[in-house]
């Protein structure tokens, strides 16, 4: 039985880690981009970001004041049992979010969409979102938090089989150019592309592709892996860099996830995970042990339903 106190502690600590510590894969990707960036102003911006991440870790303060919308991904081993059940887990995640918002502090970003009422704790209706997935083995819980911004850099479009890969590339460019100007999506970013599924599945896959895979990790399908590389290069060939200034640093990595879709359509969603890519992961064991790690490990063969009948 996994103690509920361990889940609440992990959720609280992950919230702090995500907001303060830039994941090493992302930082490594930006350092590589800086080495290849020819423009002085774009170099200055990337260098300032690296110094900012160091300041955040030294001072234990959030790397960006728009601390995004805290949310959780929960992956449960098939044999996991939680003290108090999943309803207790949800209460613990809400409690940890409110407490961490005050203590770190995070910006209380969550408001009612119409009245704009803010409880100043990032908790409310459907907030934080909690999404579940399962693995066939294991009695642990993986807890991942992602605090993505959300105002710019996302789009969805129903393309058709006749539009093909070129259609996808065109839509990808549209999003990069449209939201890259003035750096609205705070690039260089990890770009996630969801292809297929229903509309909601398409959005979910694209969002998870940008926020739950690490920089440098390729999709196991070789054709998709090639397309990931092509889109990354395409994004970096626009002539645009950080803040929309002249440069070539736009896409740290491009991650694509696919789902089976309607025979007549090819829905595509595009998402960007910004210069403050906030994600943190922990595994919680039955004895209450919490193991923190960098790789969310969300996209397993089972999660992609590879070879599953």
């Amino acid at each position: 039985m996994i103690p509920i106190a361990a889940i609440e502690k992990a959720a609280y600590d992950l919230t702090a880690k995500a907001s303060i510590e830039i994941p090493p894969d992302f930082k490594g990707g930006i350092k590589k981009m800086l080495a290849n960036e020819p423009e002085h102003l774009s170099q200055f911006v990337l260098q300032a970001m690296i110094e900012n991440w160091e300041a955040a870790e030294q001072d234990r303060r959030p790397m960006c004041a728009d601390t995004g919308l805290p949310r959780f991904y929960v992956k449960s081993g098939n044999n996991a049992q939680i003290e108090g059940g999943f309803v207790a887990l949800e209460a613990a995640l809400r409690k940890a979010t409110a407490a961490a918002t005050h203590d770190i502090p995070l910006r209380p970003n969550r408001v009612h969409p119409l009245s704009r009422k803010d409880y100043d704790n990032n908790v409310g209706q459907h907030a934080p979102e909690i999404q579940y997935a399962f693995e066939p083995e294991g009695d642990w819980i993986d807890l991942i938090t992602v605090h993505k911004g959300g105002l710019f850099g996302t789009d969805y479009r129903m393309l058709f089989p006749g539009d093909g890969i070129d259609g996808l590339k065109r839509f990808f460019l549209d999003v990069m150019v449209q939201f890259g100007r003035r750096g609205l999506f705070c690039q260089p970013a990890i770009v996630g592309v969801g292809v297929g599924g229903n509309k909601d599945t398409c959005m979910r896959l694209g969002k998870e592709a940008c926020s739950l895979r690490i920089v440098g990790e390729r999709n196991p399908d070789p054709e998709i892996a090639t397309l990931e590389q092509e889109l990354k290069e395409l994004g970096n060939s626009i002539g645009m860099g950080p803040m929309g200034y002249v440069g070539n640093s736009m896409v740290v990595d491009c991650n694509i996830e696919v789902g089976f879709t309607h025979t007549g359509g090819m829905p595509v969603s595009i998402h960007t995970f910004c210069l403050s890519s906030r994600r943190a992961t922990a595994r919680i064991h039955t004895d209450g042990r919490i193991e923190y790690r960098h790789d969310p490990g969300w996209f397993t063969p089972y999660y992609r339903r590879e070879g599953v009948q």
């Binding site: 303060r61 790397m63 601390t67 770190i104 209380p108 460019l173 626009i238 645009m240 929309g244 403050s276």
Partner: protein, 224 residues
């Protein structure tokens, strides 16, 4: 910062007209003194619903930061300000002329700049310039630059995120000067460079089967 090709300028707030005039497009700026935040909540309250500011703003600071900090209130009534970053400024254009008149602001700091038209029509006539934050989100560096929260106005009415924060800052930055003396914008100059390449980039990619209604069909346009 290591890049010696960019000029770095340190200024004190309130900033003088001469100091603003001397700022060149592309300069890197650090600020010491007092700055305040104002975004849609404050503009609406002051300029639309006619609430008087409870302070003599022009005497305190002439630097307006489009920002809301990641902050919380301690039990003893003081504030814990962690990180500070700007929000996208294009949304506030409609309030700027009245705000300049009321506040006598000379520097606007925000995310992403405003249009060359706004610089020419609203900024240059009052001798103001726009500074953009870097990144975006050097939130920790900017948070470090805040030495003291002088006041947080209308917390109850507007909430933490929309309240008007008054900060005492030291070496607060970096920011980049976007407004040129001719009213040009570094962002728009960068746009022009990208636009010159778009035709080639899209050359072999045919339009989608199903088109969309929209406000612009030209990729040379900005969507803000």
């Amino acid at each position: 910062m290591s890049d010696n090709k960019l000029k770095t300028v340190h200024i004190n707030s309130p900033v003088s007209d001469d100091e603003v005039a001397a700022l060149e497009q592309g300069d890197i700026v650090f600020i010491s003194g007092t700055v305040y935040t104002a975004r849609e909540g404050v503009y609406k309250r002051v300029l639309e619903t006619g609430h008087q500011l409870p302070i003599d703003l022009p005497a305190i600071s002439n630097i307006n930061f489009h920002c809301s900090p990641a902050a919380s209130k301690n039990d003893d009534g003081t504030f814990n300000v962690g990180a500070v970053t700007a929000t996208a400024s294009f949304r506030f254009g409609k309030w700027m002329p009245d705000w300049f008149e009321m506040s006598k602001a000379k520097l606007i700091i925000g995310k992403g700049g405003m249009s060359e038209d706004s610089y020419k029509d609203m900024f240059l006539p009052v001798g103001a310039k726009y500074l953009t934050t870097v990144g975006y989100g050097t939130g920790a560096l900017l948070g470090r630059g805040i030495k003291r929260t002088v006041d947080a106005l209308w917390l109850e009415e507007l909430g933490l995120a929309q309240a008007m924060w008054i900060f005492e800052v030291e070496n607060f930055g970096p920011f980049i000067v976007d407004t040129g003396t001719d009213g040009s914008s570094l962002f728009e100059k960068s746009n022009a460079h990208v636009n010159s390449r778009l035709k080639t980039l899209y050359k072999d990619l045919k339009p989608p089967t199903l088109s969309r209604y929209g406000e612009t069909t030209s990729r040379d346009d900005e969507v803000i």
